[in-house]
Amino acid sequence: MNGALLVIILAAAVALGLGLMARRGHDMGLEQWTVAGRGFGWLFVFLLLAGEIYTTFTFLGASGFSYGLGAPVYYILAYGTLAYIISYFLLPPVWSYAKKHHLVSQPDFFVYKYNSRSLGALVSIVDLVALIPYLVLQLTGLGIIVDAAGYGAISKDVAIWAGALIVIVYVMVSGIRGSAWTAVVKDILILLVVLWLGLYLPTHLYGGVGAMFEKIDAAKPGFLIFPAKGMSVWWFASTVLLTALGFFMWPQSIAAAYTAKNAGVFRRNAIFLPLYQLILLFVFFVGFAAVLAVPGLKGGDTNLALFKLATQQFSPLTVGIIGAAGVFTALVPGSVITMTAATVLSKNLIVAMKPDISDDQTALIAKWSVPVIMLIAVYFTLSGNQTIVSLLLMGYSFVTQLFPVLVASLMKRNPVSTPAAMAGIVVGVLVAAYLTFTHASVGGLMPWLPQMIQDFNVGIIALIANVVVLVVVSAITRPAAESQEA
């Protein structure tokens, strides 16, 4: 057994142990399990809301994206920051409403605001279709990380099963508390690893960050700026705005917001969350450092850029520590996603059909939905189904379709009627699905438009269709019942 493997197994054990310990002193009823009894202070809320930025997608994906495509990766740094500005205004009213009505899931919010279980069920289906591919991505990432950092000693399949079991156990036992506790270790680890890699590699290989970018700019002119067509500056601008809107529509982000003990937490965090994002910069540096150091990775292999470079430069023990950080970036977001999906499935789909079920019974169904969700995800991960990749691309545009309906419900007089909300979401989701499956682009659909508009993110079309339907159907139906005022 090599040193790297030992560190990775230790990390997995620590995750499991912490996850289980997190339960101590708490009775895991539905509100405790899902939203920690709305008792989290700024630190846990901060870590849960920031957790979205450091998933395996960031660790492998952002470095691979920098390596493979260059400049377009900059958008990641911009959209999260804008999303945090939105959170300052969006999350306090959402939180207050959730507290007042004891909401535990994001579909709950729609159920109460629009006084419609059917809308809740529709939102739940959209959520699950978006969440399961996201979970698959975490498991796939976990397999890649353990395989690469363990020098192939543990097969991907074994790593995926082990990760899935750890998450099932601690989520069932400790709920969101397990995720919050493990998030502390995850963030400390990732902070240290990423800062160090992002500074050491450019300095060691090129003599500094500036020198590194100068060399890349000379070797690959145009790689560090946006291309003239395709992923152009207009793609950048439209993608940043669109993804900033979708950011807090993810059901796990809304559920994380419910855990706060007061609304001031969000406003204070909106100052520090943007700065925390700067860690991503160092992930970019690693990806760019790999461009000239380990050239030739293509397609999906670009996601290995970070580990290829690490195994080339460092001892197994160090690679193991990087791998351990990677394992945490898979397990922690994986646990939050699993718990959210289980809550949505049980509370807003299964229990919604039999309204006389008690909270304790709902909690029981929710806990046993955890292995169900996880096994579905493991199945898709191991079968390597390609449709899942398309689904993942769609996930973000799917949840973004909830934005207009949610924002309208926060207005003093909601202008959107319940049938309009359902119609808008259905149309938006169908358009988004069609566009993703056909790999459409604005330019491909409307080649007569100016180049600038041709490069717009195609998701904008789905959102426009959604809003048009919202307005038209609201005009011909009655507005949502006024009884559910904020």
């Binding site: 960050v209 950048f236 909106a270």
Partner: protein, 65 residues
């Protein structure tokens, strides 16, 4: 609060305008190619803006809501 909202809207333009107006690698900002350096600076500016917004927002005087 109206002022605070306008202030908070600023980064939505700030982030995007730099790369649109000047999509060139030079001049470097903080050792980074221009568009990346620009975006990085705006992350910091946004944090400062949100700090100002937070300080002038009367809701933050009382902790409970």
């Amino acid at each position: 609060m109206v002022f605070a909202r306008w202030l908070a809207a600023l980064p939505f333009i700030g982030f995007l305008i730099g790369p649109i107006v000047h999509n060139q690698s030079h001049p470097f900002i903080l050792g980074m190619p221009f568009p990346l350096g620009w975006v990085t600076c705006w992350v910091v500016i946004t944090a400062i803006i949100m700090w100002i917004v937070y300080s002038i927002d009367p809701r933050n005087k009382s902790e409970d809501e």
